[in-house]
């Protein structure tokens, strides 16, 4: 179990002046500006959960993760993993966690991949039998066998990421931190990685803390999402709930063989909005306020629609609008 209490991280950044003169000025007077990357957050994560940790760039996601795995020391507040503070007992905690930073590989750049795995086996003291068993399983799951003997620098990004994941799983960590594991990957590799994460979570009930900008990752994997903005948690709850709280917004796209006059259309007392573009009409409404049938009925019979498509709100839309709202507030 991971417990985060009133966690805050403040970075001090020297203010540098521009240009050559400014450079010399900076040499003699050092002024610092303080940046609060993580601002008083509290959170409890149970064993076996898959948490989606989302937020805009620079919202404080990575900083939180780095404190959770003991790389950074908090300015105030605490993180405990099964009762131990990771930045105080780095080595003890390291044995129980696995980390993948999508932007930085842990593998040794110049040597064949298999050698990196062997080193990890020694570092984490994985017994021979377990190592073999898990390697076989991971090779099959992630399909890394084909490039096992290539130096890491010759691998493609997708291959490297799969190898990095395998490396993080080698010692069967109780908690897995994935910081943007699908960044820059193609659809197939992403799919593959998601499947792997799910399988490992079910098989070993690994706790997974995932940050990502790909909302498909969240929809496919996470039962719970935590949203952070400007260092503060702005949402913590289940995926379905966030959708509900936002309203069950549906959009019906219809094609018409005439140009409608938008202000003459029936708005059902302002519950339905219309948008006409390139020969198509988008009808947007909240399914909790108005019956879908009545809107569909209206579209077919009164508007004489030819073609018809209905879509639900995506998590991406939800996140987008929540972040937008936050930005407007601040």
């Amino acid at each position: 179990m991971i417990e985060i209490k009133n966690l805050t991280k403040i970075f001090k950044k020297p203010i540098r002046k521009e240009g050559i003169l400014g450079m010399f000025a900076t040499l003699f007077s050092r002024k610092y500006e303080e940046i609060t990357a993580v601002n008083d957050i509290s959170l409890t994560i149970d064993d076996g959960e898959i948490i989606g940790y989302i937020g805009a760039n620079g919202a404080g996601k990575s900083t939180t993760i780095k404190m959770m795995c003991g790389i950074l020391t908090p300015t105030s507040g605490t993180v405990t993993i099964d009762g131990v503070e990771p930045y105080k007992k780095r080595r003890q905690v390291a044995q129980n966690i696995g980390v993948v930073f999508g932007q930085k590989t842990q593998l040794w750049w110049d040597i064949p991949l298999i050698e990196s795995f062997k080193v990890f086996k020694e570092i984490y003291q994985v017994p021979d039998k377990e190592y073999k068993e898990r390697m076989d399983f991971l090779c099959q799951l992630l399909g890394i066998n084909e490039f096992m003997n290539q130096p890491v620098r010759t691998l493609s990004l997708g291959q490297r990421m799969r190898a990095d994941l395998a490396a993080a799983w080698l010692h069967n960590p109780k908690i897995l931190f994935l910081d943007e594991p699908t960044i820059g990957l193609d659809v197939l590799v992403k799919e593959n990685i998601r499947k792997a994460i799910k399988t490992m979570n079910q098989k070993y009930s690994t706790t997974v803390i995932l940050t990502t900008h790909d909302m498909k990752d969240i929809e496919n994997l996470c039962s719970r999402i935590v949203m952070i903005e400007n260092g503060k948690i702005i949402y913590d709850g289940s995926l379905s709930k966030i959708k509900e709280s936002f309203g069950d917004i549906r959009t019906i796209y219809v094609t018409l063989n005439y140009v409608p006059q938008l202000d003459k259309l029936n708005t059902f007392d302002g519950k339905v909005t219309y948008d006409y573009r390139d020969g198509g009409l988008a009808i947007k409404f909240n399914a909790q306020q108005i019956k879908v049938e009545s809107v569909v009925d209206y579209a077919f019979h009164t508007l004489r629609a030819n073609d018809f498509k209905i879509s639900e709100i995506s998590i991406e839309d939800v996140v987008k609008s929540i972040l937008k709202k936050q930005n407007e507030k601040s």
């Binding site: 795995c69 950074l72 003890q92 930085k104 040597i111 570092i123 910081d179």
Partner: protein
Amino acid sequence: MDLMAYKFHMITWLIVTAFQVLSVFFLWVAVYKNSPHAVINGYTFKEMISFMVMINIFNYIAFDGYTGDVISDEVSDGTIANSFIKPISYRVRFLATNLGVLGAKIVVFGLPMFTISYVIFALLGFIVIESIGTFLLSLLLFLIALVLASMLYDAISYIFGVLSFYTTAYFGLYMLKETTIQFLSGTLVPLAFFPAGMYKVLRYLPFAGMAENPVLILLMRDSPLVALQKIAIAIAWLVVIELFGALLFSRASKKVTVGGG
């Protein structure tokens, strides 16, 4: 493994070292030619040449800036994050790497280079071997002193690397480290060339144990007893420096920031 991956790097260094030895050689030839004394600060010409050649080879074998370089690289590109999530001590990792590199360097470069120059100097009469017994004993003591020298260098390199947690820039620290060590370890000129008062102090600093003392042991200028004393001093310094490094790390690691992503 990395050592072999950078074959080219190693060979370039070897060539650089060879040129250094050559230029130092001609420098001292000129110095002794123009000096009215045959013995300068206790060194005859023959002793000086063998000392300078040996100490340059020694430098090449024992000094490896790897630790400080890697730490500062890890700090500047943020990969230090990966090191902090491994269940191994940050210090021990570099210690192990350094000893591995040292072993490989001794076998691949040290053995042939020292043997060839030693045999040549002995044949030319630059080095006088009084008895096989003393030779073997000083060889053994030299090996111990060599390992200690390399560990001392690595410990200092580690401290400078960790200092880059604060500065994030390493070049200045690197230059400071290199010039200090070159100057005070007897690599540029033997420590006996310093003013008498300074010499007395320098002999007991860790730097002497990093180059001059081991080479003097190899050249059998010290009695075994003196050699043992010097080794003891080096060990004491090693303990002190490692302790300081550990203390510094425990403070600095709280300050570390991870750049990028």
